[in-house]
Each structure stands twice: as structure tokens, then as C-alpha cells.
Amino acid sequence: MNARAGTPRIWNRRAEGRVRRQARAAARLGPQLDGKLVDPAAIVALLEEVIEAGDRVCLEGNNQKQADFLARALTAVDRARIHDLHMVQSVLALPEHLDVFERGIATRLDFSFSGPQAARLAKMAGAGQIAIGAIHTYLELFGRYFIDLTPNVALVAAQAADRAGNLYTGPNTEDTPVIAEATAFASGLVVAQVNEIVDVLPRIDIPSDWVGFVVPSPQAHYIEPLFTRDPAKISEIQVLMAMMAIKGIYAPYAVDRLNHGIGFDTAAIELLLPTYAESLGLRGKICRHWALNPHPTLIPAIEAGFVESIHSFGSELGMEDYIRARPDVFFTGPDGSMRSNRAFCQTAGHYACDMFIGSTLQIDLAGNSSTATLGRIAGFGGAPNMGADARGRRHATPAWLAAGREGAHDPSAAPRGRKLVVQMVETFREHMAPAFVERLDAWDLGEAAGMALPPIMIYGDDVTHVLTEEGIANLLLCRDAGEREQAIRGVAGYTPVGLARDRRAVERLRERGVIRRAEDLAIDKRDATRDLLAARSIKDLVRASGGLYRPPERFRNW
């Protein structure tokens, strides 16, 4: 007797599971379920029927839009039934994202970024309330959605739905397509909260047959204006560093396709393009193509004709009308509003950009860079995918080839290009905390939380330049670890790391152009004033946009 013939294998357990969950939901909700439309009063009941104990659940947390109604509902399910959930989500933004662990509904977590919840996450992980699988880069987590972290249920947010369940995400599409695809095509269930149900959508971002249930949220989903920087808060040091970046890096490498990290340092560069970069004759030669959220501080450069195209991870509050009026620059749908997509924009930033430049909190003597500080598990966000050499890249550009030539120390090796990865920091952060350290806090944090690796954001061997107010260290030109260490010390200012430099070695590096100071770049420090900024206030940005940019209330002081 053949044992295998006696127990025929079942090949559609997941699909049967979906049918079982849908049937349970229909039975429990009765008239509170109309096709795919769920009565918001029944949302907790719905989640209790479609989620099963031990499920992998993606609760959509983005940089901007949040599935906040579904997050609150998940914290209210009966934990006698729903427990041991494994949460897989890119961003922990809301208190509810951790409340589900505190209430014993979820136990395991795989994620990317937890900025707003970093301190509480560290505390809960330390107390054993959360078992963290890994802290991922965005693309890495999205990749695992299709390999070993596929969600059983995804709880997502959209702007609107029609009665069939098609979704319109609006400008903040962000993670929704990748989450919905991974879930729907593995026989999982997608539950979407929407701000409104309409007869005809402006456009369809997620087709209805990927969507299991739609619930109108009593309140519009929360959106965080994460990328707005008020030019009024940009310091003269940041202006000086921006001048050094443009003259010492953007110009010589002809950086034409790039991503800017978030922060005032890079905002200063954006605001110097129409003034300082223009005066250097760089319009049309640098900064034409961007992988970038629609930063309000880029408006003057767009208006000045520096920028040809921008693809975005997500949108930014207040930029909607401006984007709609500049469809040649931004990716927009037939309805006129922007279509963002974090997965594609991360891919673009990794493979199609020649440079990433961004800030950090700590840099060690090898150039390793980390935003993890003691007591805070902040995660990475997009920086590691942007700030890593794309070793799978094969297309050549002048900037990529130039960096590759500088970094090649073995003449017999095959020629290849290299991404420019620039870490830009003032030597002291606020409260005189040094940005340069002998040992990253990440090591202690990793050990305290039992991580397999210290949470290093950008590895030193990917960093090509360190830029501070003291100068630019070109790590590509360093021939060994000793030179690299002195190059970093040589721009570390009056921090203990900087004061411990070998002065003669640093002078030799300066003679070779490995270290370049403002004066070596013929930058007159008297020009480093806020007058050089193309906009000095939020109101200036509104004016530059012709009134199309509508900043959120908190950024208005008029």
C-alpha cells in the first residue's frame, strides 16, 4: 500500500484559509458587511474574524500616511483569541504600533524605522515584551515580504475607495502597492481603511481584486509632514558646509542624479542651488534628476530650472497643488495628483543615483555611521539602500566612473564605478555631543538588545566622503586604514577624536587633496551667510512657488 496515495497532499491551504476567514467575517458581521464594505462600528469584530493567532500581520505604517484607525482597532481585539502575532511593517510611527505588544496581542517584530517610537521600543525590547527579528532597510523588508515574511493579513490606508473595493491612495502611495501585492497574491487578506467611499475614483492605485475589505474611517488618516524644513532655522555653519558640498563634491564629480537625506544640512544645499551653484555656472550640469520626497526647500531650485525630474518615496503635506502644477517634474497620474512608491523610489535611489548625501549622529574612525544612540532603537529607513554602493550596477555615468577611478588602488583589477556616499555632519551636535566617536553607541545597543549585529546605518567601506565644517575627507583616496583614520580625525574638529589627530599626517593628507578645507576650495567664509539662501523662511518658499505651496499650520507664523 502506498502511504502517499493514502494522504493526498493539499495544495491550497492558504486559499482555503482566506475563504474560511471571509466566511467567518460574513457570519459575524451580518448586515454590517455589504460586499467588501465594512461598517466602521464592526471593525474590531472584523479583525477578530480575519486574523488568526500566530499570523504575520502588516500594519501599514509609512513615513507619511498611517493606517491609524485600523491600528487602534487592532489594539482592541480579544487577546484570548488573537495573540502571538508577528508584526512585519516598515515604520513604527504611532503609539498603537507598540500598544499591540504591550497588550499581549503581538510578540514578534520585523521592521525598518521607528523614529518617533525609538525610546519606547528600546525599553520594551529590553524588558522582553518584543522579540525583534531584525532591523531592515526598506528594500530588504519589502524583499522579505515575498520570501519568508509574507503577511497573512495586511491592514493598509488609502485616500478613497469605490464600492467595488478599488483604492485611490492619493499622493502618499508609499508602501501600499508592495504590501498589497505580497499579501493578495499569497492568498492573504488586505483590509483597507479609507477616508471616503466615492462612486468614481480619480484613478485606481490598487485594483479591487487585491482587496478583501474596505472600511470608511470615521476620521481621515493621519499624515506626518516629515520632510518640511523651515529655512529660518538654517545656520551659517550649514550654509558654509553646503558651499563646500557644492564646490568640493557636486561640481568636480558633476553629480547629476542623486538623493538627499532629510535634515537642515541638505536643505541648505537645496537652497544654495539657485544662488551659489548658479554663480559657479552649474545649472544644467548638476542636480537634474532626483529620487526625493517633494522637499519644499527644493522649490526655488525647481523654479530656477535646475531640476528636470523627481521621483518620490511619498509625498509631503502642502505640496499637492505645487506638484499638480509641475507635471513635467513630478510623477503624476492622469488625475493630476502625484503617484509615489517607496519600493520603486528606493530602487531608483540605490541603482540609478550617483550620490547619496545625508546627516548622521555618530561616525567612528573607520567611517561607520549610525543614528542609534543609547536607549533608542531608531532603525534605518532609506539611508542604507541609498547610502550603499550598488554592486549590481552596470550603467556608467561620469560621476560614477570618477568615483570608481579614485577608489581603485589595484591597477590590475577590472575597472568599475562607484556610488558617492557622503556623510555630512557638524563636528558637535546640540549640547556639545560629539559626532565623531571612537566607538559607536550602536555596539552597546546591539549587545543590550541581543542583536546579531550592531545597528550600523552606513558601513564605513561604503562611505566615500565625510564633510564637516572643518573640511571634506575624501576616503576614496585613502590607501589604508591608517590614512582613513587620520582623514576622519582631520575633519573631526575639536571633538576628542579630532584633537587626537596626528597633525603631520593630516597635513600630508591635505597636501595630497585627501582633506580639503574651505580655503583649499577658494571659499571665502565671509560669503557664508544666510543671505546666500534662496529662501530664508517658509513664507519665501510659498512666494517662490507662486502661492501653490500651502504649508501646514504649524509652519505658518503669519
Partner: protein, 107 residues
Amino acid sequence: MEQLSFRFEGGKAIAATVPARVVGVVASGNLEVLIEPAPADPGCTIDINTAAKGFGTIWQAVMTDFHARHGLAGVRVSINDAGATPAIVTLRLDQAVEAFTNHAAGR
């Protein structure tokens, strides 16, 4: 408040007729630098009033580098600091000297 004083000998003498210069403002995280001729002084005297206590070693290093960069004699520098970082101190000093000596050079 903490008061610090530094003196450096030697360097190129600045004419007594060069007008004094003030750069910066006394605002949080910022500082005011006054640079003026002191014809009787063969070196450079720097007096500092700072709101932040306990950073004497860093001030010493910043001022030593300042003197190494510019090497001025017959000059008095007075600093009113409201908690500026070494970066902004260095920038203000360099701005003050550039304004001061470029006048001396007739720019």
C-alpha cells in the same frame, strides 16, 4: 559665566589705524567677536566671556589654531559667547579677521 584669557606672542603687526570690527550677535548658540588694534601689544590678547562652563580645553585648542592660521600681532580680540559650538566660534573669528585685515590691505 566663565572668563578665559589667552595670549599669543609674535605674528604680523596690524596698523593702529585699522578700524575695529564686530561680527556676530550675542544670541543662543551664537557669539559676538570684537577685533581691534592694540598698537602697544607685541602679540595678540583674547578675552572670552562665555555662558558655558568647563570647555577651557576646547577654547585653548580653538584659539591656538586661530593664532596658527592668522598670526596677528598688535591686536585685541574680545568674545561674548552664548554657547556657540567650536564651529561657529571658528567661523566668526575667521569672518572678523577677514573683514579686519582686508580693510588693512585696502580691499
